[in-house]
């Protein structure tokens, strides 16, 4: 008889400490650890306004002052922000893996994934014209679009409400087939089974998408416990294995994890996309320096 176990509980995703750190981070602006030339190029790319004018929307606190249409303000006496048609470099798409396998880890990998999406999304709202969150398996919330810095709270609520959904990576292809690819895609997942990601990743590349893979890593991704009698459970299907671990098995597990890492790297290398292995911070670690890599990749 198979024993049913409750899935791990994800701690509070966006506590006050994280929100404070996020707002400070976005308000302070990125501190790129790159050279002067690259820094200037990145700033100009982020600050440049281009695209086709499609309309106005009322100004909300936090919007970039440079995007206010002063002429419209003079005519109406109210502040309006120009809306430009989304173009690749003016928008950003975050593809979130909602599978239960991200519930593994301490804290769960899903916590780091959601917070990473919040940082990347907040940066996009602050700096770019729009943001799309694609979460296959989330039903009506499968794809959501946000624009402007004022949508930050809405973004966090949206991320917080996303359910756990076990869908194959192929499901992302159908979503992008309906909506089209908008801007760079940041694919946040554990890529636990690299072979399953080959087809959708190649399909996205064929559509011309620029994909960045984000793999929040945990200590379990780098090695097994050295000794002990451990029951390991797969959150996706509940399959379990009671394993008495000794040095020999720990070494073999180490080799298997390294092999997995190589396969994940080869997966992205074959498609010419970067894979960012980003060490997941502790659940209560709200230091801004932890998110520098994310900010850096988000501004590229």
């Amino acid at each position: 008889m198979k024993r049913v176990r409750a899935l791990p509980v994800v701690p509070e995703r966006f506590p006050a400490g994280f929100r404070t750190m996020l707002r400070d981070l976005l308000a302070r602006g990125p501190k790129l650890r790159t050279g002067r030339t690259e820094q200037r190029r990145a700033q100009s790319r982020a600050l440049a306004q281009s695209g086709t004018f499609v309309g106005h929307r009322p100004y909300v606190c936090g919007d970039d002052l440079r995007r206010i249409d002063w002429a419209a303000c003079a005519r109406t006496g109210e502040l309006f922000v120009k809306l430009l048609e989304e173009e690749d470099r003016r928008t950003l798409t975050i593809l979130l893996d909602l599978s239960a396998s991200l519930l593994a880890g301490t804290p769960p990998r899903r916590l780091a994934a959601l917070r990473l999406a919040a940082v990347l999304g907040g940066l996009a709202l602050r700096r770019l014209d729009g943001l799309t969150i694609v979460a296959p398996g989330a039903g009506r919330a499968e794809a959501a679009t946000f624009a402007g810095a004022g949508d930050l709270d809405e973004l966090l609520r949206h991320l917080d409400a996303l359910p756990v959904a076990d869908v194959a990576p192929d499901a992302a292809i159908a979503t992008f087939a309906r909506r089209g690819v908008a801007g760079r895609i940041h694919w946040i997942s554990d890529f636990a089974e690299p072979r399953a990601f080959e087809v959708p990743l190649a399909a996205l590349r064929r559509r011309g998408a620029d994909v960045v893979g984000w793999l929040p890593t945990m200590p379990e991704d780098h090695g097994a416990p050295r000794r002990g009698y451990v029951e390991v459970i797969d959150p996706e299907n509940g399959a379990s294995l009671a394993v008495p671990v000794d040095d020999e098995l720990a070494a073999a597990m180490q080799r298997e994890l390294e092999l997995l890492a190589r396969r994940q790297a080869r997966l992205f290398a074959q498609t010419g996309c970067p894979l960012v292995r980003w060490a997941s911070p502790e659940a209560t670690d709200f230091r801004a320096a932890v998110w520098q890599d994310a900010i850096g990749w988000g501004l590229r």
Binding site: V232, V243, R255
Partner: protein
């Protein structure tokens, strides 16, 4: 289902404790991981099997233990009540040899019926087969079901089937089954099952044959008693064939129920052989009682040898001549190397070993060195009226002038004299066995008036026959006629009664539970 030792089921209470003791320790740490495939690959690279499904193995082990405990408690499947033993009273009297309407003898029909029924019985039923009629035979078990060495129809129905069936049926889970032809009985059994196989019809039979054997002469006088049971007089033919010089055939008319005696003589062949006297009548359904068969010994060609001194007078010669005439032989002089069939010795001493030589000795000493003893002047006082040599003979006129009883060998006396002290002294004895014998008298012929007695030739002839023993006897091979087995016209009417259903025995289920336990253990060996 019931239990032989239900208290042993209490051992089942130990199984939960065993289960608890067999439970493996739980893992000390629980980890959610997306790398289950990597764990399995790591185990596979080390050629380690994933841990067994301990729970299923324990359950199988406990089930095997439970099956063993149940077997230990002796589970028994309750049987169906009913008889478990069968006694078959089989009428095999001579009348069952009669032919039925189908042409087969009633005995064969009944035997086939019994074999078929017994073969179809459940194996747990104990079967006893009793042959009633002729020799009493009892067969049990497998030999009863095959009717092994059960013989042929013969004899009379000596058992009271009614009383026998009533005494057996219903006792100790026993049911009785009577198989009979309904002949020679007042009524048929009321108890138990009954199968009646009648074979009615007319019957002619040889009831008895009286034989006057004139051995060693070839003439044989036969008196054949015949009886017939039919609706009217039965015409028949009696034939005497076999070891006879000329077969005899006589036509007879046999009245119903009355004995008819047919007397005739036959000349037997010198080489001997079987003689068959048979009656043949139309419509006779029982051939078993139609014949009288006997074996005739070969006739001797006696040469009577005489051994005597001159002084003993002519008596021994006259006696030998009389014997030769009686047995159609010849008298020869006894010499060394001469082959004789009978030796007649009178007086003197002759080295004849008593009982080993066919001889009649009168006052002859067999051991010349032995003391003679006193010569008596005895008075014959008695002879054995039942002895084969002296039965029917009148020896009251016998006078003996002188005798030597001490010269007689040890043997069977049949003639006595009174001694001087009033004691009985043997005057004649027979020495020998069933095949060879010699007759010894204590006096010479010249010292008595025995040769002058009318009984003398008969005594010599009987001595001759006795000297040959059983070699001269006629052997009847056909069984004696069974009284009451000849009238086959009206068997008792009866309706067959079937055997009741037999019970089923209790069956132990212990072996089945032990087997189930072994199967569970074998299955457990394949569970990983």
């Amino acid at each position: 289902m019931t239990w032989a030792e239900p208290s042993r089921l209490l051992w089942l209470l130990a199984l939960p404790i065993v289960y608890w003791l067999l439970l493996p320790p739980p893992p000390r740490e629980l980890r959610w991981t997306p790398h289950l495939a990597q764990w399995q690959a790591a185990l596979g690279s080390l050629r380690r099997r994933p841990p067994r499904r301990v729970g299923l193995r324990v359950v199988l082990l406990l089930l095997a233990a439970a099956a063993t405990v149940v077997a230990f408690a002796g589970p028994v499947l309750v049987g169906r009540p009913g008889p478990s033993r069968l006694v078959v009273l089989f009428d095999a009297s001579a009348s069952t040899g009669a032919r039925t309407a189908s042409g087969a003898p009633a005995f064969e029909v009944a035997s086939s019926l019994v074999r078929d029924r017994l073969a179809a019985l459940p194996p747990h039923v104990e079967v006893t087969l009793l042959r009633c009629g002729g020799p009493i035979l009892r067969r049990h078990g497998a030999s009863a079901k095959t009717m092994q060495d059960f013989g042929a129809p013969a004899g009379t129905l000596g058992a009271d089937l009614v009383a026998l069936a009533a005494s057996i049926d219903g006792r100790d889970d026993t049911v009785v089954w009577t198989v009979t032809d309904g002949q020679g009985q007042v009524r048929l059994p009321d108890a138990g099952a009954l199968s009646c196989i009648p074979a009615p019809g007319p019957n002619a039979a040889i009831v008895a044959v009286r034989v006057v054997d004139r051995w060693p002469l070839p003439t044989l006088s036969l008196a054949v008693d015949l009886v017939a049971f039919a609706d009217g007089p039965l015409a028949g033919i009696v034939r005497a064939t076999g070891a006879v010089a000329a077969p005899v055939e006589r036509a007879v008319s046999l009245p119903n129920g009355a004995v008819t005696t047919l007397e005739f003589d036959v000349e037997r062949r010198a080489e001997g052989g079987g003689i068959d006297v048979r009656v043949a009548a139309s419509g006779d359904v029982l051939p078993g009682d139609d014949a009288w068969i006997a074996d005739l010994p070969p006739l001797p060609a006696p040469r009577i040898g005489v051994l005597s001194d001159e002084e003993n007078g002519p008596f021994v010669q006259a006696a030998a001549q009389a014997l030769a005439e009686e047995v159609a032989g010849s008298v020869v002089r006894a010499r060394a190397g001469e082959s004789v069939g009978m030796l007649v010795v009178d007086g003197g001493a002759a080295p004849i070993e008593p009982g080993r030589v066919r001889a009649v000795c009168f006052g002859t000493r067999h051991d010349a060195a032995a003391p003679l003893g006193d010569a008596l002047e005895p008075r014959v006082v008695d002879w054995d009226r039942d002895h084969p040599l002296s039965v029917g003979l009148d020896l009251s006129e016998l006078r003996v002038a002188s005798a030597l009883p001490a010269a007689l060998p040890r043997g069977e006396p049949f003639l006595w004299a009174e001694g001087s002290g009033g004691e009985r002294l043997p005057l004649a004895v027979v020495v020998g066995d069933e095949r060879t014998a010699s007759v010894h008298f204590a006096f010479r012929l010249a010292d008595s008036n025995l040769p002058l007695l009318p009984a003398f030739p008969q005594l010599l002839r009987r001595a001759f026959v006795r000297a040959y023993g059983t070699g001269a006897a006629l052997a009847v091979r056909s069984p004696a006629a069974a009284a009451g087995e000849q009238d086959l016209r009206s068997p008792l009417p009866a309706a067959d009664r079937a055997l009741p259903p037999f019970g089923t025995p209790e069956r132990s289920l212990a072996q089945a539970f032990v087997l189930a336990g072994l199967v569970l253990l074998a299955l457990r060996a394949f569970v990983r």
